[in-house]
């Protein structure tokens, strides 16, 4: 394990910036974002950035291809490969979330090249949590403030600096670039790092193993849907939501096909030309989102698709969120 003094952190990011685009937590008007870093003060004291790691590896919109020409002479070019990037300051829940959706993109009959290329061009330097918000529930989802999943390098913040541990080959390579800035950690530093982890909401919040047979027709979903505004806030902030749409944008004879985040809560999400809609009711869409994360995704990947980051808890305008649903379902099932 290595150690880097807090004062040397900007030097480290500067050095990594010679070969990669560096992202770091930067406070903008009191809220911390993982932002392209150009020497700004590196924020500390935040629980979780507004934007999860997902936003930088699976961006809101990205180009799939470019096309040019008319109806009879069109040429198509694949979008250019992404530039290398290093992201410092994401949290372990978000790193786990990214790894969770990485399985969707990398496994199965097709590999999603756009995701694969960008993930492989990205080094994720996660910072373990020193504090939890009331909305944090990572422990309920089997994670912890220092979970390693999905990170290339894990930083443990302490009073004088960070303990630094490389977890992957990519992580080791990036630390080689930091030669001279890192020291070997003392046993005392390592011990302190382990003792200071916070305790987010844990307990038996998540006792739910829902199957469609048990839960699909339960009146609970109707009750839940009455509150939902279908605004999509939860899906856009969620580190494990990954629904997208493809669409063409043209200017003159040139154009691009883009992939952009979509939202399963919108009424037209499944609307087909001709008018058929498999989930026209809000109840169906709300139910599908929660059952996807708690039942359908586990059926395909053996794990629930939530990492307890708490963004839906903090941001849903009607307090309809995963922590509440997990709690409710536990009660519904017992009833």
């Amino acid at each position: 394990m290595k150690f880097i003094a807090a004062a040397k952190l900007p030097l480290l990011l500067e050095r990594l910036g010679r070969h990669s685009q560096v992202y770091a937590p930067v406070a903008v008007d009191g809220r911390v974002w993982l932002s392209p870093w150009t020497g700004e003060d590196i924020a500390g004291g935040y629980v979780n950035p507004v934007n999860s790691l997902k936003t930088l590896v699976y961006p809101q919109t990205e180009a799939v291809l470019e096309f040019e020409g008319g109806e009879t002479d069109v040429t198509v070019r694949e979008a250019s490969p992404p530039a290398p990037q290093v992201i410092f300051g994401g949290r372990p829940c978000d790193a786990a979330g990214l790894d969770l959706i990485a399985r969707v993109f990398m496994e199965g009959p097709f590999v999603d090249e756009l995701f694969r290329r960008r993930r492989e061009a990205t080094t994720i330097m996660t910072v373990a949590c020193r504090q939890a918000a009331p909305s944090c529930f990572c422990r309920a989802m089997g994670l912890s403030p220092a979970s390693e999943r999905g990170s290339d390098v894990l930083f443990f913040p302490g009073p004088e600096g960070y303990l630094v541990e490389a977890l992957t080959e990519a992580g080791e390579q990036i630390l080689e670039q930091a030669a001279g800035l890192l020291d070997d950690a003392t046993g005392d530093q390592a011990r302190r790092a382990c003792q200071e982890l916070p305790v987010p909401l844990a307990g038996d919040l998540n006792t739910v193993r829902l199957t469609p047979e048990e839960g699909f027709e339960h009146p609970y979903w109707e009750h839940l849907a009455r509150r939902c505004r279908s605004c999509g806030t939860c899906t856009y902030l969620c580190p494990t939501c990954y629904c997208t749409a493809l669409f063409d944008v043209t200017r003159g004879t040139r154009g691009r096909r883009l992939r952009g985040w979509d939202c399963c809560q919108f009424k037209d999400f499944l609307l087909m030309a001709g008018g058929h809609n498999a989930r026209p009711q809000k109840k169906q869409r709300v139910r599908n989102r929660f059952l996807h994360k708690l039942s359908y995704h586990p059926a395909n990947y053996g794990e629930q698709a939530c990492v307890g980051c708490g963004r839906c808890v903090d941001n849903c305008p009607v307090c309809l969120h995963m922590a509440g649903v997990l709690k409710d379902l536990g009660e519904v099932e017992r009833a």
Binding site: V64, L65, F67, G69, E71, T72, D73, V74, T75, V76, E78, V104, F105, G108, P109, F110, V111, D112, E113, L114, F115, P212, F216, C241, Y242, C243, T244, A245, L246, F247, D248, T250, G255, R257, R259, D262, C264, F269, L270, L271, M272, A273, G274, H276, A278, R279, Q284, N288, L291, H292, S295, Y296, H297, A299, N300
Partner: protein, 272 residues
């Protein structure tokens, strides 16, 4: 290679099937047409307009170019209907599973189509006709809104009825002056014909409402859940199981479908 990037292909020919259905004969500009099996689909793009998942209505083992038989319903299909031979489009695929023809050896085959639902069935029927001796009797039940909306009339009226031991039974929702055939909705027509479930596999494709009532009619006739095969269609964007759209429970129509037995459908949430 990025699976979302299509091959550029040229529309070689356009066959006007009905007032709102055209068959597009398509060849890729570089390289070969991908291999595919009956029931599989492909994403077809009109650049600048978008993509649509379309079933492939040609039969791979006959060689020849890809064919898509397309009803004009939305933006992409509308743009295709405006296209002319020589226009370039994008094609990527094949996507989804296929009809489990290997399970049907020795079985009678009952094909039940409605409207543009005959497009994937056409690929299947021609595939099975080319290995006619592997199966028992064929019956093709097909309905459309009106006589002029019957697709693939050359095959319906000539090729298929002439083939060995094939019964073709046509119906329309509403007749016009010259129509001498049946006037009934497909599920009613099916019940009236009353085919025996004995040693028979029923395969049905059509609009969702037709499929729903046809499944009920087949049950009434005594078909077991395993003897009934159908296809589902949901809104799709990526075709490769990544965009999170076409799920029914834990299954994705684009990779786990579009072909399901009724037994498989019953395991899924009734949400399609």
């Amino acid at each position: 290679m990025n699976p979302l990037v299509p091959q550029v292909a040229t529309i070689k020919n356009i066959v006007v099937e009905t007032p709102d259905v055209r068959t597009f004969v398509v060849e890729p500009d570089h390289g070969q047409t991908f291999a595919y099996r009956p029931g599989q689909c492909a994403m077809v793009s009109v650049f600048g307009v978008g993509e649509a998942m379309l079933s492939i209505s040609s039969t791979a083992r006959r060689g020849g170019p890809l064919e898509f038989s397309v009803k004009r319903v939305g933006r992409v299909t509308g743009a295709l209907h405006e296209a002319e031979p020589g226009h370039r489009i994008g094609v990527r695929g094949p996507y989804g599973n296929h009809f489990p023809v290997e399970d049907w050896a020795g079985s009678n085959l009952l094909f039940i189509g409605g409207g543009i639902g005959l497009a994937p069935l056409r690929a299947l029927i021609n595939h099975c006709l080319d290995e006619r001796r592997r199966y028992g009797k064929f019956d093709i039940i097909y309905g459309a809104r009106s006589p002029q909306d019957l697709c693939f009339q050359g095959e319906l009226m000539e090729n298929w009825p002439r083939a060995e031991d094939v019964g073709v039974h046509l119906t329309v929702d509403a007749a016009d002056g010259d129509w001498k055939g049946a006037v009934a909705l497909v599920p009613h027509f099916l019940e009236k014909l009353g085919p025996s479930p004995e040693g028979t596999t029923a395969i049905t494709c059509g609009p969702p409402i037709m499929i729903k009532y046809t499944l009920a009619s087949l049950k009434k006739l005594g078909f077991s859940d395993h003897q009934i095969v159908t296809t589902l269609e949901l809104k799709m964007q990526c075709g490769i199981g990544k965009c999170g759209r076409c799920n029914i429970g834990s299954k994705y129509v684009c990779v786990d479908g579009p072909v399901f037995t009724y037994a498989q459908l019953k395991e899924l949430p009734q949400e399609y």
